[in-house]
Symmetry: C2
Subunit: 461 residues, 2 copies
C-alpha cells in the first residue's frame, strides 16, 4: 500500500526538489491520514512549508488529520492571516473544533482575519455547548429543492462533491430552509431521471435537534441504520448534518472520560503519553486527595471504637475484609448503572425499579459472602489457627450479619449515586468506584462495629 512509501524523509526530499506539481502528483496517491502521519516527524517550519506547497482540497485534508495539539501549535505560531486562510478551506466541523481548542488571543486574531461567511459559520458552531449534537455537526450539507428532477439533482451533487461532508444523504428544503425530506444518492441512482424529488424523497426523515445530546443522535443513527442525520432548529429549519463518524468520535471520547472517572480520576482528555506530568498529578491527585479527606472519617469512626479494639483486638482483624466487600459490591453496581445510563437503557425515572433490584441483589450477595466469612472463621478455629479470644461463633455471626448490611448498603449506594448525580445536574460517571467505596467504608465501619460490639457485649467487652 502507498502509505508504506511515506516517511518524513520522503516528504523532505519531495520538498527539496522544489517541484510543486511533482509533489502533488505523488501525494495525491496517498490518503491524507497517511500523509499526516508521516508529517509527525517534521518540524513546524518544514511542515508549514509542505502544507503551503500542497494543493487546496488535499491541504485541508492533511491538516485536519494532524493531531489536535499539533494543529493548535501550528495555527498559533503563524501570522493570523496564514492560519485564517487555512481555516477557510477546512471542513466546517473540523474548523470549529480547532477554533474551540485555540488560545483566547489567537482565536480572536484568527477569526478577525477570516472571510465573513466562514467566520459566521465558526461562531455559530462553537456557540453550541459541549456534548450537544450542535457541537459536533457540520454545516457543509448538500441541499436540494423538491421541484428538481433526479437528473438535475445528480448534476448538482456532481458539482458539489468534494465540498460537502457527504453526498450520500441529501436534504430537500424549501425557500426558508425548512427540512421537507431526504433523498439518498442510492434513491437518485435507482430512480428514473425525470422524476421530481418530491415524489422520490422520504418525507418523514429522522432528524435530531441541535441542542439534543450527542447520545440522542448516536441512538438514532444506530437504531435507524443511518450514515448521517439532519440537524434541525426547534422551528424545523435545517441547520447542519451530523455523520456517523462524528458521532463515533464523540461517543468514543465520552466513553474514555467515563472510564477515567469510573476509575476515580478526572478525565485526562489526551492520550496517556501526551499528558504532561503536572496535568497527570493534578487530575489524579485532586480526586485522590478529595477521597483521602473523605476516608479520614474512617480514622475518626475507628477512634470511637479504640477502647473496644484495645479490649478485643480480634475486632480489628475483619475491618479490611468487611469494608472492602462493601466497596466491591458498590463498584459493581455503580459501573453497571453508569454504563446503562450512558447508553440510555436506563432513564432517571427507573431509579425505584433499580432500587428494588439492588435491594434483592445486595441482600442475596451479602448473605452469600457472609456465609463464606462465617465458614472461614469457624474453620480457622477448628484447625486451631486462630483463637478469636474464645468466641468464634459470636465473631462468625457478627461478621455474617455485618456483611449482609455492608454489601446491601454498597449495592444501594453504588446504584443510586449515579441517579442522584444526574438528577442534580452532574455527570453520573462521577460516581466512581473509589468514591462509592469511600462512602461505603465509613458507613461500613459503623455497621460492623455496632453489630460486633452488640454481639460481644458482656463477653469480650
Amino acid at each position: 500500500m502507498a502509505e508504506e512509501l511515506l516517511d518524513p524523509q520522503t516528504l523532505r526530499e519531495l520538498l527539496d526538489l522544489g517541484n510543486r506539481h511533482a509533489l502533488n502528483m505523488v501525494l495525491e496517491e496517498a490518503h491524507p491520514h497517511d500523509i499526516a502521519e508521516a508529517c509527525a516527524g517534521l518540524d513546524d517550519a518544514t511542515l508549514w512549508e509542505l502544507l503551503r506547497q500542497i494543493d487546496s482540497p488535499l491541504k485541508a485534508g492533511v491538516f485536519t488529520h494532524l493531531p489536535m495539539e499539533r494543529q493548535v501549535q501550528l495555527a498559533e505560531s503563524r501570522p493570523p492571516g496564514d492560519a485564517a486562510d487555512l481555516l477557510e478551506i477546512m471542513p466546517s466541523d473540523d474548523r470549529a473544533d480547532l477554533v474551540q481548542a485555540l488560545g483566547l488571543e489567537a482565536k480572536q486574531e484568527i477569526l478577525q482575519e477570516m472571510q465573513p461567511p466562514q467566520r459566521a459559520d465558526v461562531e455559530r458552531l462553537v456557540a453550541y455547548p459541549a456534548g450537544t449534537t450542535g457541537s459536533v455537526m457540520s454545516s457543509d450539507v448538500a441541499t436540494l429543492r423538491s421541484e428538481m428532477t433526479v437528473d438535475a439533482a445528480i448534476s448538482h451533487l456532481r458539482a458539489l462533491a468534494g465540498h460537502k461532508e457527504t453526498i450520500y444523504y441529501n436534504y430537500v428544503i424549501d425557500q426558508v430552509n425548512t427540512l421537507l425530506g431526504i433523498v439518498s444518492l442510492r434513491d437518485l441512482v435507482t430512480n428514473d431521471g425525470q422524476s421530481r424529488l418530491f415524489d422520490v424523497m422520504n418525507k418523514e426523515p429522522v432528524s435530531v435537534r441541535a441542542n439534543d445530546p450527542i447520545e440522542e443522535a448516536a441512538n438514532k443513527i444506530r437504531g435507524y441504520d443511518l450514515l448521517a442525520l439532519p440537524v434541525v432548529s426547534p422551528e424545523g429549519k435545517l441547520v447542519g448534518i451530523v455523520t456517523v463518524d462524528d458521532v463515533m468520535d464523540a461517543t468514543e471520547e465520552e466513553t474514555t472520560r467515563d472510564m477515567h472517572k469510573l476509575g476515580g480520576s478526572e478525565a485526562l482528555d489526551v492520550p496517556y503519553f501526551e499528558t504532561r506530568f503536572r496535568t497527570m498529578i493534578r487530575k489524579r491527585g485532586g480526586w485522590l486527595a478529595a477521597l483521602f479527606f473523605g476516608e479520614m472519617l474512617t480514622a475518626s469512626a475507628m477512634g470511637k471504637y479504640e477502647g473496644a479494639i484495645a479490649r478485643a483486638a480480634v475486632l480489628a482483624l475483619f475491618v479490611p475484609l468487611i469494608i472492602s466487600s462493601g466497596g466491591n459490591s458498590g463498584s459493581q453496581a455503580t459501573s453497571i448503572i453508569i454504563r446503562s445510563l450512558a447508553l440510555r437503557e436506563l432513564r432517571l425515572r427507573d431509579w425505584w425499579r433499580v432500587f428494588g433490584h439492588e435491594l434483592m441483589t445486595g441482600l442475596t450477595l451479602g448473605m452469600l459472602l457472609g456465609m463464606i466469612g462465617f465458614v472461614r472463621i469457624v474453620t480457622w478455629y477448628w484447625f486451631g489457627w486462630q483463637e478469636y479470644e474464645g468466641h468464634p461463633y459470636l465473631m462468625g455471626f457478627a461478621v455474617w450479619l455485618s456483611l449482609i448490611g455492608v454489601v446491601l448498603f454498597g449495592s444501594l449506594v453504588g446504584s443510586m449515586l449515579p441517579f442522584i448525580l444526574r438528577r442534580i445536574g452532574f455527570d453520573p460517571a462521577a460516581a466512581s468506584a473509589p468514591f462509592v467505596a469511600t462512602l461505603v467504608d465509613v458507613t461500613g465501619l459503623v455497621i460492623y462495629f455496632t453489630i460486633a460490639t452488640a454481639f460481644l457485649q458482656g463477653v469480650l467487652l
Copy 2:
C-alpha cells in the same frame, strides 16, 4: 413523524383487517426500527402472523430490528422450516449473529432446513472467533469488474440495491476474487459514463484481514474517514465487508463489557432490566466471592499483628485510610491504562515506559497524601481530639511513609496488571478496580504494619 402512529394496537387492527396489501402500504411508510419497536407489545403468535403478512425485504428488516432475545425466542418456537425461510432473506451479518445466539439443537435443525448457499454463508461467518473482524462482517458485498464502464457499473448497482449492505462502496475484483480496487458511488456519479473502472477506481484500497481484531477495523474506518472496509483473506481475496455501523455496535458492546469488568463483575451482556436475577447473582457474586477469598488474606495478615494491635490499638485506626488510598490510586491507574490499551494508544511494548511514568506519579501522589495524613494527625493532637497514646509525630511519620509505599505500590500494580493480563492472553479489562484494590490491600497492610511497628518499637510496642 410516522412512528408516532405505530403502536401494538394499530398493528393488531391492521392484522385484523385481513388485507395484506393495505397492511404493507401502511407499514412501508414506517422505518423497520419503529415497526419492530411497536412489535415489542405483541405476543409471539400475533407477531409471527404479522411477519408472515409483511412482504419480503421489509419482513427481514423488521425481524432484524427486534431485540436479539426476541429473535431467538421466535426462531426457536417455530418449526425449523419457518425459521429457515426467514433466515434466508436476512442480511448475512444479522443472520450469522442470530445463528450464534441460538441453542445448539435449534441451530442444527434450522441450518439443515436452509438452502445450501445461505447455509454455507452462515457456517463460514460463524466460524470466525468473537472479537475478530470476520465475526461482524457481512458477505453481502457489491462487486464489480475492472473492465466495466462507469455506466455499466451504475446499472449493475441499480439492480443490486436492496440486496447489498451498501452500494456506496463497491469493490473491484478479478476472476478469482482478488481485491483490485475500490470505487465509491460518489466516484461513479462524478466520472464520465464511458470511463473504465480500472481508470476510475482507487487501486490502493485500505483493507482489513478477517482475523484482525475489530479494533483494527475500527481504527482504520476512523483514521481514513470510511463508511466501510473490505475484508480480505491472507491471500488478498475479498471475503466480506465491514461497515461503520457494524464496528460501532461491536465497539459499543466491547466497551460495555470493559466497564462491567472494570467495576469488578463479569460482563452482563444484556441490558440491566433484561438480566435475570440468577444471572445477575452469578455474574456479580462469582467475582465478589473470588475477591472475598483474596481479601480474607487481610484477616490473616492482620492476625499476625494482633499482638501489636492489642498493645497499641491506635495502630488499627489508620488501616482503612491507608489501604483505601492504595486501592484508589490503583483504580485510577488501571482504568486509564485499560482504556488506552483498548484504544490502542498503548501497545504491549510500552509497558516499561508506563512503569517509569507510574513510578514518578505514584511517588509524587504518595508524598502528597502522606503530607495531608501527617497534618491531620498532628492537628488532631494539638486540638486534643486524639491522643495517639502520646506519640503523634511517630504515628504521623509512620503514616506518611506508609502512604508513599502504598500509593506507589497501588499505581504500579494498577498500571502493570493490564499489561501482564494481555501478555498472558487474558483481557486487560479483567484488571478491575476491586481486583487491584484487593491485591493492594494485603500488601498495603504488610507495608503499613512493617513501617509502623519499626517506628513504634520500644515506644509503644
